[in-house]
Amino acid sequence: MREAVLLFLVVVSGTGGEICVTRAMKHVGEVTDFRPMALVRVILQAMKVSWMWIGISMMALAFFSLLAVLSIENVSFVVPVTALNYAAGALGGEFFLEERVTPRRWAGVLLVCVGVTLVWIGKR
């Protein structure tokens, strides 16, 4: 039960955090200059966007939940199961970021979900 709660936190908080970070980076704009100082400027600019801080906080919660679940389960089980965030991510991309998730992408996401189910059953 404890592992299920921790995995839930990893998936939900991690995906929520990534969506917030994406929103912040879309606000910053496309990165075209990859020189170190330019990248530092991009990071500093991103840090001024509140979505970035919300995202980082949620990802921190996901990170510590991941550490906790890694103390009781194998990495080859935990990491594939967290792939459930691909389904959550596609939903979040479509509904919160106004991206057009094509039927082909949905098919891929469905396969990912089937794979995660097999990994979960395969562990038992």
Binding site: M25, V31, Y86, G93, R100, G108, V112, L118
Partner: protein, 138 residues
């Protein structure tokens, strides 16, 4: 080179960095946390001791450094590519994690477990053949 080719090239470069560093980070964290002990036996009074153990583990810091590298690449790629493209496309890291877990950490992985990972990667292949951006450039 067209701008579309350039967009795909820099997208694939960033995906490569993500595919190398995300699995390495997770494997190092897994190795570090196995050294700390199971969360099931943690009690609130032990928390400061556990936090100290976590943050003095070399493997945890290696994992954090690898995941930070992954995160920077992830932030950069998200500035031009769709979230719903990047996230599934980077799931090839799951296969790399399983391979590292099997060969480096000696974890037991059942045939059904491997099948699941292959199906996940198939999903990634399907997703990877869609255009990286579906929204207008701002």
């Amino acid at each position: 080179m067209t701008s579309s080719d350039g967009l795909h090239l820099k997208t694939y470069c960033m995906l490569l960095i993500m595919v190398v560093f995300a699995p390495l980070g997770n494997v190092f964290l897994g190795k570090g946390m196995k050294g700390v002990g199971s969360v099931v036996s943690w009690s609130p009074s032990q928390l400061p001791h556990i936090v100290a153990l976590v943050f003095t583990s070399g493997y945890i810091w290696l994992g954090v450094a690898s995941l930070l590298t992954f995160f920077v690449a992830y932030m950069l790629i998200l500035s031009w590519a769709d979230f719903s493209y990047v996230q599934p496309a980077s799931s090839i890291t799951l296969l790399v994690v399983a391979l590292l877990g099997y060969f480096y950490l000696g974890e037991k992985i059942s045939p059904l477990h491997w099948t699941g990972i292959v199906v996940i990667c198939l999903g990634v292949f399907v997703v990877g053949n869609t255009p990286p951006r579906t929204t207008e450039v701002r």
